[in-house]
């Protein structure tokens, strides 16, 4: 993980020189490209996820990508196929399960999601144990690594993100309606249930993308923290949406740069920056007085 030892020179006060140093290696350029793609996709889908209060489902989709990747490596496929297959598959399961077993209270639904999540992690542990001698890869899968992202991987991330964002753009307006007021939306003929399923699949794609940078356990850093921060700052949907994307980009860029110049893992820096914005926004809101920012009016 140590970028500093690769280059021999560390961080200086000359920002231009630092940036040049950052961009001189192809692996770092690819990491920044991948990070940018992932931040945009995660911000867009995370914004809706926070609004729809599906954080727990999003977390589970992200975690499922770990056994997906470990299983794919074990079976001899590329990890990237495993990431997407597992997350999208889990999205379909979560979309199908809760209502088919009778729409009982939320407690039952969250018990199911929690069980899926733990079982997925157990499968990951099994695959890693079967593969053997895979310890460094394990921490990379769980806590993220920005080394060794290939051109083809960037291309795969880009095409999936573009497809997911295109679909999201198509359904954004009815999805927003269905999220804010599902009953009225259903009465007006909006296919609320179908939108929910499509959204979960898109969320699965985003979670799988983020996993490849931050690791399966730290996906929340890009999926939840930027939208949560933006919704602290403003209640206006378009503004907070734009803010979410911006915050996600800044978090990823700073996180990757910090990880490059230090020996510590990228997942730590990305979560720390993401959380720092969140705390700052919450503190700012408390300082200015909650009355001026009626974020409570937004469900999320």
């Amino acid at each position: 993980m140590s970028g500093a030892t690769l280059t021999g020179t560390g961080l200086s006060w000359d920002i231009a020189a630092d940036l040049r140093q950052l961009l001189q290696f192809p692996f770092m350029v690819n990491a920044l490209r991948a990070g940018t793609i992932v931040a945009v996709a995660a911000g867009a889908l995370g914004w809706f996820m926070v609004l729809r209060r599906q954080s727990f489902a999003g977390h589970t989709l992200a975690i499922v990508s770990f056994p997906g990747a470990a299983g794919a490596i074990l079976a001899g496929f590329s990890a990237i196929i495993g990431y997407f297959a597992a997350s999208v598959g889990a999205a379909l399961v979560i979309a199908a399960l809760p209502r088919s077993i009778g729409g009982r209270a939320r407690s039952s639904e969250s018990a199911i999601i929690g069980t899926i999540q733990a079982f997925a992690l157990a499968c990951g542990a099994l695959f890693v144990s079967l593969y053997g001698g895979f310890l460094n890869g394990l921490t990379g899968l769980l806590f993220g690594s920005f080394l060794g992202i290939s051109d083809s991987q960037v291309l795969a991330l880009l095409s999936v993100a573009a497809a997911a964002l295109a679909v999201l753009a198509l359904i954004a307006r009815p999805l927003f309606f269905a999220t804010v007021d599902p009953d009225v939306a259903a009465a007006r003929g909006v296919p609320v249930r179908l939108l929910g399923v499509v959204f979960l699949i898109l969320l699965g794609c985003a979670a799988a993308e983020v996993s490849q940078i931050t690791g399966a356990l730290l996906v929340f850093a890009l999926l939840v923290m930027p939208p949560a921060t933006a919704q602290q700052i403003t209640a206006r949907p378009m503004v907070s949406f734009a803010l979410t994307i911006g915050l996600g980009l800044i978090t990823v860029w700073l996180g990757l740069a910090a990880a490059y110049f230090s020996v510590y893992p990228v997942g730590f820096f990305v979560t720390t920056f993401g959380f720092a914005w969140y705390v700052l926004a919450a503190a700012l809101r408390a300082f200015l007085g909650t009355g001026r920012h009626p974020a409570a009016a937004v469900p999320g």
Partner: protein, 275 residues
Amino acid sequence: MSSLAGLLGQPFLRYAFVAGAAIAAASGLTGYFVVLRSQVFTGDALSHVAVTGALAALAAGANLLVGLYGACILVALAMAALGHRGQADDTVIGSVFAWILGLGALFLSIYTTSAPNGTSGVNVLFGTIFGLSANQAVADSVIAACVCAALIIIARPLLFATIDEAVASARRVPVRMLGTVFLGLVGVTAAAATQAVGALLLLGLLAAPAGAAQRLTARPFRGLWLSAAIAIFSVWAGLVIAYAAPKIPPSFGILAVATAVYLIAIACTVNGRRA
């Protein structure tokens, strides 16, 4: 039968069976209330704290158990102090715990640089029930038994407070204090279970037996005992599987059995039939 005798002839397996049963009973009992009180996400959060607490202790060169229990209990009490508002907001919990897990990644990296061949970091994540020493097994069993006893003592008022909080507080049940004590117990359980199934998987031991029990019976106390029984069965069956097939990690065996029981429970009750 001779293989069963062989199974229990191994000291490390005896420890695993005894400590595993105690931990499973504690997880099943607390898990039942975790699911009933819709605090599964809180349990998830505590499992993240367990990772970071244990890894922080390892990185600092301290005893793993100190970090594990300290972090879990402190955070559980802090969450209880935040009260209902803190409990309801998944976004806040998610943001805080993603960051705490990020810290865990930092500590893991510090620990692996200082002790390159140490596997404790991975053991924290996925458990080492076959690696328990006699002392650890006794300590875990005693702690888990205390959790079970405490939970059984508060079970009745806690159930009242869970199902109808307003009426319970009107009847002078100390709702808030019960919630705090309960979360503290969940914290202790999480720390104990981390050694058995690992921090990342303990959510399954909390959620799956309880979810299955809730599907099988609507009667709370029957469900409570059933949840504990399913948890113990899962742990024992998982241990036997892992012993029979050494390639399979015990944590996977335990979680696979628990998940299978839950699936069977769902399949049996899919038409809304309940005992």
